[in-house]
């Protein structure tokens, strides 16, 4: 464990590491976007700006060399212990189940949708469909 820590600490953070880390973040955002707006079409609050906001925030950290390197080292260390894919999956869960609702709760990066002017819906029921139970 100590060796592992020393290896990660001593190694140089290269462009490949930065690209990998950014790619993981982008995959998170893409997956979330797909699940929320394409696959399930959840008609609740709009989180587009939260996704963009969190990405911008984390990307900025990556761009600042010393701070970014520390974050990537932590990522590399944990990935080395439990494997990159498992860690990415865990990060995904933490990111979307914790960070996004948190940002949503404090209204940070939340897109301000225009005030609705009605709550009527068009009738969707089929009047002649009497043979069906639903």
């Amino acid at each position: 464990m100590t060796d592992l820590l020393r290896n990660v600490q001593d190694r140089k953070i290269c462009r490949k590491d930065r690209i990998q880390f950014a790619a993981v973040l982008l995959v998170f955002a893409g997956l979330f976007f797909y699940m929320k707006y394409v696959r399930y079409d959840v008609p609740v609050e709009d989180f587009i700006w939260e996704i963009a906001g969190v990405l911008v925030l984390l990307s900025t950290i990556v761009l600042f060399k010393s701070l970014g390197n520390s974050i990537i080292r932590v990522w590399l260390l944990i990935s080395a212990i439990i494997g990159k894919i498992i860690f990415s999956a865990l990060l995904f869960i933490v990111y979307f189940l914790f960070l996004v609702p948190l940002f949503g709760a404090i209204k940070l990066f939340t897109k301000r949708s225009p005030e609705p002017t009605t709550n009527w819906s068009k009738n969707t029921a089929s009047i002649n469909d009497y043979k069906k139970m639903g």
């Binding site: 002017t117 709550n119 009527w120 819906s121 068009k122 009738n123 029921a125 043979k131 139970m133 639903g134």
Partner: protein
């Protein structure tokens, strides 16, 4: 062609039988099972309808259920999954009921009725809409339904034209005026789906001091008459209660416990929500009016039992003519579903509907049932048959006697309209307390309604463009009316009147006329023939039981047989024992 409509499993199960387009019979399960708001499969009601129509189950061409069970279950699952983990209690209450019975309604109909014909399913709000439109005299009308919730819809605006009906706009769960009113019903210490009318009766005692709080926090109303509830304050999507602690903190007082003393705070809350509901619905009616050129409007759905709201609607004159279906709750949807099958599925023409078709329940003169005289003889019940019963009974009422009036076919719907009624003298102010305390055994604040001769009603009440013959609309009393009939004028100077004509109910009309000739007062107190928590009496035995164990002085059956407390009733008391009913 025989079509059976059924409503069941939420509250007030019922059955209705349409024979070649004519409504032959309709009754609520509670009247026969003697369980208030009985929601079980309405087997007793179905058999009663078959009996009254003189047919067997195998002569039915079609059975239609009043809603789409799969769609409703989908909404419930949607609600539960959105609310996890808080909605676990909801899950464990609702899902087993669905799995055990509600999903198998087709099998249940087939097995219990041994029925092999066609089984259809209507949409919940279409059933409401159909009941209102097809039972009205209009050939063209806007249809508004306001309800707790059906499948998804809670409020709809639609249209009816000839034999066709349609729904144009709807609001979806959880945004529901019915559920908003029920939330306040619970907060004020009454039972949900049962005590809403008590909240309405309580409202005139209070001031609408909390109206702004309701608008600021609980409900947002859009200019087009739609509305949105702030679900932060309600629990019904997640738990088993209507409201949560945020709601309680908003008003600063705990939820009133059932049966505890009533104080002015809860009266003010009741007055506030009543006004809010009235204002929202008026906006909605304005919006509905702007959608088409139609000048007639019909209403259905449980919210329309709020007769004070209905008064505001007719007074506002947004539409020219109004019709309020007399059984607007889920029970009435059994009728609506049957009409939908007849008109929309089988494409048959309309047949005129009349008020006579409100008297659709148990019939004492059905040749296939025991006659009244046979029944009284079997029970060894003493009785007399006065020569002029109407004069005699009117005379007794004018002397302060309280009469149980049991006549012909039972009413379908929540109101007793002169066939299963308790009658008393409205000129005696003390009669309200006597009836509440000694007969009905209910809360002191509850008002009583008058039945009044149709041709005299306008002398005493301000009437508008609607029929007042089904107790669906209150009317403001004219100056001096409260001096003539103080027992039936509510705190706010209104009364939920029933106008009676000789066509609507000939016997009841004769009694009112006799009372008028004797006293100069053309009205009687008319309250349903039951005690608190008891369904309205259906059979002669039910009527005898309520008569024997309350302080009703006389029981009149079929305008012929009179039983008095002065007679020796010991034998019959041994045969008909008292029953205890759960408080409503």
């Amino acid at each position: 062609m025989n079509i059976l409509g059924i409503s069941a499993y939420y509250h007030d199960s019922a059955a209705a039988l349409l024979q070649d387009g004519v409504l032959k019979a309709a009754t609520q399960e509670e009247r026969l099972s003697r369980i208030k708001h009985d929601k079980s499969f309405p087997l007793l009601a179905i058999h009663e309808c078959l009996l009254m129509s003189g047919i067997e189950a195998d002569q039915l061409d079609c059975v239609i259920y009043y809603e789409k069970p799969f769609l409703k279950l989908e909404r419930i699952i949607d609600t539960i999954t959105t609310g996890i983990p808080k909605s676990f209690s909801h899950f464990f209450t609702a899902i087993p009921l669905w799995v055990k019975s509600r999903l198998w309604i087709t099998n249940e109909i087939r097995e219990k009725l041994n029925f092999k014909g066609e089984i259809l399913f209507a949409n919940h709000h279409e059933s409401h809409a159909a009941a209102a439109f097809y039972s009205s005299s209009f050939t063209d009308a806007t249809i508004i339904t306001l309800d707790g919730v059906g499948e998804y819809a809670t409020t709809t605006i639609g249209y009816g034209s000839g034999t066709e009906i349609g729904i144009s706009l709807e609001q979806h769960f959880p945004h529901s005026l019915g559920l908003l009113y029920s939330a306040f019903t619970q907060y004020c210490g009454f039972k949900v789906n049962s005590g809403e009318y008590k909240l309405m009766g309580l409202a005139p005692y209070g001031k609408p001091l909390y109206k702004q709080i309701i608008y600021d926090h609980l409900v947002k109303v859009y200019p087009d008459g739609s509305y949105q509830l702030n679900m932060k304050y309600f629990d019904y999507t997640e738990g088993l209660r209507m409201i949560n602690s945020r709601f309680i903190n908003l008003f600063g007082r705990p939820m009133r416990t059932h049966e505890s003393n009533m104080d002015s705070f809860y009266m003010d809350v009741a007055a506030s929500i009543q006004e809010v509901i009235e204002e929202i619905v008026l906006k909605l009616v304005v919006a509905a009016r702007s959608l088409s050129e139609r000048s007639n409007v019909v209403f259905a759905g449980g919210v329309m039992l709020n007769c004070k709201l209905n008064q505001k609607i007719v007074e506002a004159q947004i539409f020219k003519n109004h019709y309020f279906y007399p059984c607007p709750g889920d029970a009435g949807s059994a009728v609506g579903a049957a009409f939908l099958a007849w008109h929309n599925y089988y494409k048959k023409e309309r047949i005129n509907f009349s008020l006579q078709e409100v008297y659709l329940g148990t019939d004492t003169s059905n040749p296939q049932s025991e006659s009244v005289e046979e029944c009284l003889t079997r029970l060894q019940c003493p009785f007399v048959q006065p020569h002029n019963i109407f004069d005699d009974i009117a005379d007794q009422i004018s002397q302060g006697k309280i009469v149980g009036w049991f006549n012909g076919r039972m009413e379908f719907g929540p109101r007793a309209l002169g066939n299963r009624s308790i009658l008393a003298d409205p000129r005696r102010a003390e009669m309200k307390n006597i009836l509440n305390d000694k007969i009905k055994l209910r809360e002191k604040f509850r008002p009583f309604a008058p039945a009044i001769l149709e041709d005299k009603a306008e002398e005493f009440f301000h009437l508008h463009h609607t029929k007042y013959n089904t107790m669906m609309v209150t009317a403001a009393a004219k100056p001096g009316t409260d001096k003539i009939m103080p027992a039936v004028i509510h705190e706010d100077g209104t009364a939920r009147i029933q106008t009676v004509s000789s066509i609507d109910n000939p016997d009841f009309y004769k009694l009112l006329e006799s009372f008028f000739l004797k006293t100069g007062c053309p009205a009687l107190i008319n309250t349903s023939f039951n005690v608190r928590g008891e369904p309205i009496v259906s059979s002669i035995e039910d009527a005898l039981r309520t008569f024997l164990y309350t302080e009703i002085d006389l029981l009149v059956i079929d305008s012929r047989y009179v039983i008095s407390k002065e007679m020796n009733l010991e034998i019959i008391k041994n045969q008909i024992l008292p029953k205890v009913y759960e408080d409503d």
